[in-house]
Symmetry: C2
Subunit: 426 residues, 2 copies
């Protein structure tokens, strides 16, 4: 026995190891994401996992900025920092999302990028969150953005590509029915203004409206009343959504509003987006205008959208137009529209629907060789493995173990359906 | 203009952004690695980027352990640590290689893994090294290991899969001639013993022998003499390599050794490995026994191997058998054999041989729409995009920009050879 060294077997708190079967599923989803967005002309990029503390604490990331894993300074820098007190122990940290790095990347590489810049990012992010079931401190994010396209072509390409990708992924587990909800922040605001809420109340009102799917219109009325809003405004607000329940286009919905509350182009654009996307995706994808859609992030400036699946409370993708955000980093306003895919949520749903890995359809072949066979027997076995691999069959060659029954049962569990044993020549 | 926030555009020192063309190349190589090893029955796994400081400073990683990026403790833990002095400011850090995490992973998940465990890892590692040309503080490593296979089947599968993968990758840029050098640590030791070097000198002598490709036999003689070794030993040592220049098999080479210096089985096994691998790979791969091969890492216990390409001083992959290392972490000896692929070196070589991305052979189609076209024109354009994408053509749809000539030149640079413009109906 070798001398044992001090060692901790379990992963760091809130982090996890991926087993081979989990990796197969994750990589197959990543491949589908990559392949689909490539067809739509999106280019993949990668930024370093580590960014400047200044960028990670620029007040754009909200609560996430308090969750940054900071990296300790080194050598003389650290000695000096300790003398100066704790705030200067670190000047770099791990990224907590892919949006801040995208803004930095765009500013840094602008001259080498095509405009509009259609970009895909898939990568790990880290947050020192309280770990809990299904929430880890390292997880995969997947963002798709179009920078520099001010027209609704950005929305159409983003939503169509995302619906296309999701319908491909979910059809593998026979989920054939998901919904893309689309709206516009300006419609939300116009409605709130029209019924008499003041601008200072918008955020608060929208947070309540956002619960529509869970608590229904009566619940919304109740919560708004509890908050003490003007009963006339509340009634008028609730009536709009009541009356619009069967309305399908944004233009029809906006007819509730008197002239002057909303630029007509906005409703027209939204309907064009919906019509174009419907033409571009499979029939099993519902693409709808949803006036109750809110999207929490305050940086959205126009169109907002979300993908949901019946039976799951969380959305599986969401995004919108955010024309004012990148400029805060780069110093020059640049229009932008993006979709954030809930990668870990997709994996969760797929795991709910498959007992074993759905990607393994090929025959897998195991050749087991007894210890001590001749060099010629061995050569022949590897020759056979070569031929099978050339015709794209997965093959493993290994020694027959003492407990061959157990060995075979493990191989079968791994999908090896053909097993051949080679014994020493008599 | 939005209010600008404090922001640093360039990546953190020693880190880098990957442009779309660089990503395409990197991802295409990763895909070839993944696909090839899958055919040989290797399973991919992933470990967290962050590991325990205890594991990262267990004295197995040599100099790399001094290069760990340590992550600062948080909250009350940090307050307490500052009171106690600098050594306790951090209890986790970023991994500096994939071997230490593999040992931890294996110990942690043993019951869920098949034996032998044939495993592929591709991932980022971080080292606070002095940045210099071509050396970054975050880079990709690619390791392939077989744990729990004591026979030479491990060596054969590893070397054949690796040679197969490399020959596929390099044939893309018309490099058709690379060499796999194979030897065994025990042969090195037996030779050194036979000519009269003492065991304490082995490491020193092998470091000099390792320069064979650069300084030749005369250079080796010179360096050994300078170090003051016995001239008779030096002459005998140099003569062996001189006399063996035309010898092809390990058994012939080992015939130089009198009985008792080397277990005959070792030479026989090495020749079987070489013969089997030759049968399994393309003819343009040279698979040779090379008695001058050393491999720096002292943890190798048997077979060692390395892949080289003419014209490059560095090896592009290297590895060997290390039966005593995993046990130091896990407490139970487990035989192991591994290959480490120089991923960043492969990318460097591919970049030397291609002016643009070699993977883009498909037609790419750009549809440019004038601002203000009708909704019907837009619908038709996206309909067309849909059809093209269904037949696997890459399509981008975007607005015609003011400087359309520049826009088109950028699109062409990105590989869009078909460009269609749609103007407003007259």
């Amino acid at each position: 026995m070798s001398k044992i060294i001090s060692f901790i077997k379990s992963p760091v708190r809130g982090m996890r190891d991926y087993l081979p079967s989990e990796m197969l599923l994750r990589e197959s989803v990543i491949k589908m994401i990559r392949d689909t967005y490539a067809l739509y002309g999106f280019a993949e990029i990668e930024t370093p996992a580590i960014d400047h503390i200044e960028n990670l604490t620029g007040k754009q990331g909200g609560e996430n900025e308090t969750l940054v894993f900071r990296i300790l300074k080194r050598g003389q820098d650290l000695v000096k920092a300790i003398e100066n007190g704790s705030n200067e122990l670190s000047d770099i940290g791990l990224r907590y999302d892919l949006t801040v790095p995208l803004a930095r990347y765009y500013a840094n590489n602008l001259n080498q990028l095509t405009s509009p810049f259609k970009v895909l990012q898939i990568g790990s992010v880290w947050r020192a969150d309280r770990p809990q079931k299904g929430r880890f401190r390292q997880f995969t994010q997947c963002d798709i953005d179009i920078l520099g396209e001010s027209s609704i072509m950005a929305e159409i390409e983003l939503i169509a590509a995302t619906a296309d990708m999701l319908s491909k992924i979910f059809s593998r587990v026979n989920i054939h029915n998901f919904t893309v909800q689309i709206s516009d922040r300006n419609i939300l605001k116009a409605m709130a203004k029209y019924v008499g809420f003041t601008e200072a109340d918008y955020d608060d009102v929208f947070i309540i409206l956002d619960k529509f799917d869970k608590i229904g219109l009566s619940g919304i009325k109740e919560e708004l009343t509890k908050k003490g809003y003007d009963p006339a405004s509340i009634d008028k607000y609730v009536d709009i959504f009541q009356d619009s329940a069967n309305i399908l286009t944004c233009e029809e919905f906006c007819a509730f509003l008197p002239e002057g509350y909303l630029d007509k182009q906005i409703a027209e654009n939204l309907d064009t987006i919906i019509r174009c996307v419907r033409n571009m995706v499979n029939e099993d994808v519902n693409v709808i205008f949803d006036p109750t859609l809110v999207r929490g992030m305050s940086y959205y400036t126009g169109t907002i959208f979300e993908c949901i699946i019946n039976g799951y409370e969380f959305s599986i993708a969401g995004g919108g137009r955010y024309d004012k955000m990148i400029g805060k980093y780069t110093g020059t306003d640049i229009c932008a529209c993006g979709f954030s895919i809930g990668f870990e949520r997709i994996i969760t749903i797929l795991n709910d629907h498959v007992n074993n890995n759905p990607m393994e359809k090929n025959v897998k072949y195991a050749i087991l060789l007894e210890a001590g066979i001749t060099a010629e027997q061995m050569t022949a076995a590897f020759e056979k493995a070569r031929k099978l691999r050339q015709s794209n069959t997965i093959v493993t060659v290994q020694t027959i173990k003492k407990n061959v029954a157990y060995q075979i049962s493990r191989l079968e569990a791994d999908g090896y359906t053909k097993i051949e044993k080679v014994y020493k020549n008599a």
